[in-house]
C-alpha cells in the first residue's frame, strides 16, 4: 500500500510551509460494543485486523484488562493500541510500586487516556484509535469512551466506529438498568450479529469480556451463527426484467 507524497501536499490542512498532517491507519480493528449490566460491564469485539479491505489477521485480541479494575477495548490502528497498552502497563507498574493499598480505577485510566489522546491530537499526530474503557471499583460501575481527537464521555452503553450506526440503535431500544449476565450477552450478540451482516470489516470470531468487582473474564474466541434462509435470498432476480 504505497501513498504518494502528492496526496500529503494536497491535504486541506497543510499551509505553505507544508505541515505534515497526521498519518493513515494500516492494520485496523473494527467495532467494539459495551454495556453496563447488573454486576459490572460487558464488552464485545471481533478478533479481526483488516489491512485495507483484506481481512488480514483473524485472531487479534482487541480487549485487554488494565490493572485490577478495568477493561480496555480498542478499534482503529492496532500498532497505536499496542503503544497505548505499553503506556498503561507503565502506569499500572508505577501504581503497584507505590504499594500503598490504592489502585488505579477505571475513572483514573479513562482520564489518563483522554489526556494522552488529546495531547497527541494537538500535535497533529494522533493515536488512531477509539477506546472503550469499562470497569468496576468499590461497587461503582464505569463505562466510557475516548476518541482519537480526545473526545471523551461516559455512558450506559457505547460502541465505536460502525457500531455507532448499527449497534447503538439496538442498545437504545433494548438496554435497561440491571440487565442480567445472560440478557447482556444476548443483547451484545444481537449487536455483533448485525455488524457481521452489515460491516465489511467484521470477522466472525468474537470475544466477550466481563468485568465485575471480582475481576476480569475474557471468553474463548467463538463464532456466531448467521441466518441466510430467507426465501428471497435464494433467487432474488427470478422474474426480474432487467439486471437487478
Amino acid at each position: 500500500m504505497e501513498f504518494s507524497s502528492e496526496t500529503r501536499q494536497n491535504s486541506l490542512l497543510s499551509s505553505e510551509r507544508g505541515i505534515q498532517r497526521t498519518q493513515y491507519p494500516y492494520v485496523t480493528g473494527s467495532s467494539v460494543v459495551a454495556l453496563k449490566y447488573k454486576d459490572g460491564i460487558l464488552m464485545a469485539a471481533d478478533m479481526g485486523g483488516s489491512y485495507g479491505s483484506t481481512l488480514r489477521y483473524k485472531s487479534l485480541e482487541r480487549i485487554k484488562p488494565v490493572g485490577k479494575h478495568s477493561l480496555i477495548g480498542a478499534s482503529g490502528e492496532i500498532s497505536d493500541f499496542q503503544e497505548i497498552m505499553h503506556y498503561l502497563d507503565d502506569q499500572v507498574l508505577n501504581d503497584n510500586m507505590w504499594d500503598d493499598g490504592n489502585s488505579l480505577g477505571p475513572k483514573e485510566i479513562h482520564s489518563y487516556l483522554t489526556r494522552v489522546m488529546y495531547n497527541r491530537r494537538n500535535k497533529f499526530d494522533p493515536l488512531w484509535n477509539t477506546l472503550v474503557l469499562g470497569g468496576v471499583k468499590k461497587g461503582q460501575k464505569f463505562l466510557g469512551v475516548v476518541t482519537m481527537i480526545g473526545v471523551n464521555f461516559e455512558e450506559n452503553h457505547v460502541a465505536t466506529g460502525f457500531g455507532n450506526h448499527m449497534a447503538q440503535p439496538i442498545l437504545r431500544s433494548e438496554w435497561h438498568e440491571n440487565l442480567t449476565f445472560e440478557e447482556g450477552v444476548t443483547l451484545l450478540e444481537k449487536c455483533m450479529r448485525v455488524l457481521l451482516y452489515r460491516d465489511r470489516s467484521a470477522v466472525n470470531k468474537f470475544q466477550i469480556a466481563k468485568i465485575t468487582e471480582e475481576g476480569v473474564t475474557i471468553s474463548q474466541p467463538y463464532a456466531l451463527k448467521t441466518f441466510w434462509g430467507f426465501k428471497a435470498f435464494e433467487n432474488p432476480t427470478a422474474g426480474a426484467d432487467g439486471s437487478w
Binding site: 494536497n10 465489511r200 456466531l224 451463527k225 439486471s243 437487478w244
Partner: protein, 276 residues
C-alpha cells in the same frame, strides 16, 4: 461518531467482489459472492451478481453496480434483437464482443469488469473476461477481472477527512489515482490457488466444487466479498442455479464453527473471574 464516516454514505454502490468463470468438459461454471457495499456498509448481503443475457449466456458483474447493470441491460437488448435476426441462439463470442464494445467505447466513464460465460453449439462452453478498459480475453478460466476502488478508498477518506468536512473534488481526484494502482479485490486472493488447483478437462462436479471452494476462500479474506456463494452451470442441457449459504461452506484457517450464543458454551453459573 467520527465525522469521516459521513463521506462514505454517498459512496457509489460497488460490488468489490469475487467472481469466477471456469470451463469444464462440456460447459462452464460461473460463481460469485453476494455482497454489495456502499463504502464500509453492506448495502445488500444477498445480491445476485450472475445475470442472464440470453438462455445460454450469463454474465458475472463486478465493480460499479450501476455501470454493470446498465451495460448488461444494453447487451441483453442487443442480443435479443440479434437472436431474432439470426434465427437461432446467439453465440457466447457475440455476447462477449457486445460487452467489449460497450466497455471499450465508454472506458473513461465505466468502472466495471465482467465475466461472460455460456454454451453454444459451435464452440461448446466458453468463458470470456472483459476487465476495466474493455480488453476481451478468451480464457479457460478467469477470476474477478475487476474490482471496486473502494478497497483502500475508505482508509483514504478516513485519513483525509478526519475532523474536517469532505472535499468532493479532492476525493474524486484521489479515486482516479487509486484506480490505476489497485487491481482486483476478492480475486487477488485466488491467483495462487487457481495456479495450483485448476486442471484441464474437469467434470461438472469437480468444476462446481472448485468454484465454490474458491469463492469461499476469497470471502474469508476479502472484506469486500461476503454473504452466500451463487453458482450457475451452463451446458448443452441447459442452465442450473445453485445457492450455498454459510452453513454449506467449509471452514478455513482461523475460522470457527458458528454457535447460537456464548451462553450455550458456558456452564450454568457465571465463569470464574480471570485476572491476567
Amino acid at each position: 461518531m467520527e465525522s469521516h464516516k459521513d463521506c462514505e454514505i454517498n459512496a457509489p454502490h460497488s460490488m468489490g467482489t469475487t467472481i469466477i468463470g471456469v470451463t469444464y468438459n462440456g460447459g462452464v461454471v460461473l460463481g460469485a459472492d453476494s455482497r454489495t457495499s456502499t463504502g464500509v456498509y453492506v448495502a445488500n448481503r444477498a445480491s445476485d451478481k450472475i445475470t442472464q443475457l440470453t438462455d445460454n449466456v450469463y454474465l458475472c458483474r463486478s465493480g460499479s453496480a450501476a455501470d454493470s447493470q446498465t451495460v448488461s441491460d444494453y447487451v441483453r437488448y442487443f442480443l435479443h434483437q440479434h437472436t431474432i435476426q439470426l434465427g437461432q441462439p446467439a453465440t457466447v463470442k457475440v455476447a462477449a464482443n457486445l460487452v467489449r464494445l460497450l466497455s471499450y467505447s465508454n472506458k473513461n466513464m465505466l468502472q466495471t469488469g465482467m465475466i461472460i460465460g455460456g454454451w453454444d453449439k459451435y464452440e461448446g462452453g466458453k468463458i470470456f473476461g472483459v476487465p476495466l478498459g474493455g480488453t476481451l480475453l478468451e480464457l479457460p478460466f478467469t477470476i474477478g477481472v475487476a474490482n471496486s476502488i473502494s478497497s483502500l478508498v475508505p482508509t483514504f477518506f478516513a485519513s483525509l477527512c478526519g475532523s474536517v468536512t469532505c472535499n468532493e473534488k479532492l476525493v474524486n481526484s484521489l479515486q482516479v489515482h487509486l484506480l490505476a494502482v489497485i487491481i482486483c479485490s476478492g480475486s487477488t486472493y485466488l491467483y495462487g490457488f487457481f495456479d495450483q488447483a485448476w486442471k484441464e478437462g474437469m467434470t461438472q462436479e469437480e468444476a462446481e466444487q472448485l468454484v465454490v471452494k474458491a469463492v469461499s476462500l476469497a470471502i474469508a479474506r476479502d472484506g469486500a466479498s461476503g454473504g452466500v456463494v451463487r453458482t450457475v452451470t451452463i451446458n448443452s442441457e441447459g442452465v442450473t442455479r445453485k445457492y450455498y449459504p454459510e452453513d454449506k461452506l467449509p471452514r478455513w484457517h482461523e475460522e470457527l464453527e458458528p454457535q447460537n450464543s456464548l451462553l450455550d458454551m458456558l456452564s450454568s453459573s457465571s465463569p470464574e473471574p480471570m485476572v491476567s
